[in-house]
Amino acid sequence: MGEVHPALILLAGGLLLFALPTGPRRVVSVLLPVFGFLNLLAIPEGAMWQITWGGYEMVALRVDKLSLLFGYSFHLAAFIGAIYALHLKDRLQIGTGLIYAGSGVGAVFAGDLIALFVFWELLAITSVFLVWARGGERALRSGMRYLAMQIASGLLLLIGAVCCYLKTGSLSFDHIGLGATYHYLLLFAFGIKCAFPLLHNWLIDAYPESTPAGTVFLSAFTTKTAVYALARGFAGEEVLIYIGAVMTIFPIFYAAIENDMRRVLSYSMINQIGFMTVGIGLGGALGINGAVSHAFNDVIFKGLLFMSMGAILFRTGSIKASELGGLYKSMPWTCACCIVGASSISAIPLFSGFISKSMVIQGAADSGAVVLWLVLLFASAGVLHHAGIKIPFFAFFSHDAKIRCREAPLNMRVAMTISAVLCVVIGSYPPLLYDLLPHPVDYVPYTTTHVVLQLQLVFFAVLAFVVLMLTGNYPPELPCVNLDVDWVYRRALPAAVRGVVRTGGPIVDGFFAGGKALVQKLIAAIREQHNTEGLFGRAWLSQSNVLIAIIFLAIYLIYFF
């Protein structure tokens, strides 16, 4: 127990931030991730912090290369996020932000399912405050929907863990695989947090509602923790390949027509996680390496993109493509950083996305899956369009929206610059990242063939965009809301209930009237019976109490008889 648990530094420090006045809080918030990182460097590999929890031996700290990589990544993200949030006077965001980061760190170092569950729930609870920090009814409701999904994921994980314990007598979190029913529970639990198709909506719903700094934190931890959990538990499960492939495809269509820039980025996030999921599903050294290294890079470049969009939101108060444009004059630095981020996500050679995404695609080729390979290539081109072109183009260039504002605050620029430099450094010198990967790497990204082909892909994708723009065929950005899975529970279900209640011919009318009355009555009854005047909620008369007791006794007697 000699080691300090890495999560502890961020968790305790995050709590401390609530108590500090503004000046020291700013200093401490930036130093915390640094301390955490230094501590991480000193920790040896192996299982530590064995805590007896009830009758079990819990392993709260298990360190190996896989968890270390995510640990580094999370500390980096926390550090950059803290700098990005330096200008804030609000202690809620930075405090919960770092606690949230600590929960993520805790989750990736958790050696058993219970410790994982604990941090899993902590992630959900702390992150929702980042959504609520935006304030207002919209953020509140969106946060509640978000929390409900996250809690559901936690409950599934809990039940899965209990079943696992009952079946195997062990709670240790290693390769799980698919087989028994509870394996699927765990897969679903991870899948919700990982934004699997149809379970993804919380991400699209909540992330764009958060504050500028909040989204930067949000983008780094929750989904990447889930990617870690999948890589640990379900490496090489074939079903993940299909799920991942779908994840790479469907968001790019949404992103293409979405107007809210941060929502575009959220879709693009699902798309990127799709690549990781495919990598995990492929398994093997190349697949896993590709998945986790892409996760590492995604934390940086997606954070960078969110930061640049956050800076725009911070300065202009709008984040809609239809209202922005021409900002490169006002915010040149932000613009430059954004382009670096866009280049990274588009996997342009010399940028970080190139060296990780290509591993996944090569992994698909090695496994001989032709269709999958074509799909991933298509998705790559799609990403390029929405994240690589659409984001910088409509925000900074396009037609001039005549918005004149100041450049982003210094701390934001510093944070963005750090990320941008990292994108370029990692992209130009891959061993930096490759040496940290869980499996030894023999993949070489920079071959002439690969560079040329990737450049061709990228440039011609841009060319398609240019052609569409010049010919005037590019559809205009419109203010809109796009229907997604949330339509089911925000519109369809309520409408269906209303419809069922309303419709019906003369014959079934009575039936439906009855049904309507029944539903209404049920809700009214619950309220009526349980409020302060209701049967259950009000104070009962003494004689009725006595009567109930006697009836109860009679029931017992009859039952026992």
């Binding site: 269509f253 001989g368 032709v370 061709q456 011609f460 398609a464 240019v466 809109c480 229907l483």
Partner: protein, 84 residues
């Protein structure tokens, strides 16, 4: 985009330069000896001249065409959709 003639000129030059880059990249295909991603020639198309270029061009084009017409009709709603 048609703010001023001067800017228009700049855009025109940029586009031209870009197209030149594209063409030269395409021509590189003739010079560079390409290693196929797939072993055993599972996907011979991959080795054809300009495969990546064409694929790169068509994908987003298709994406936008599909996205702009049917998808917009299908799922796009006014911003107040959920507020009502």
């Amino acid at each position: 985009m048609n703010d001023s003639p001067k800017k228009n000129e700049a855009v025109r030059r940029l586009v031209l330069g870009f197209v030149a880059c594209c063409v030269s990249l395409l021509l590189l295909d003739l010079i560079v000896h390409r290693h196929l991603s797939f072993a055993e020639g599972l996907l011979p198309v991959e080795g054809w001249f300009g495969f990546y270029a064409v694929y790169g061009f068509v994908s987003p084009y298709a994406l936008i065409v599909i996205g702009s017409i049917p998808l917009r009709k299908l799922i796009m709603r006014s911003e107040e959709y959920y507020d009502g």
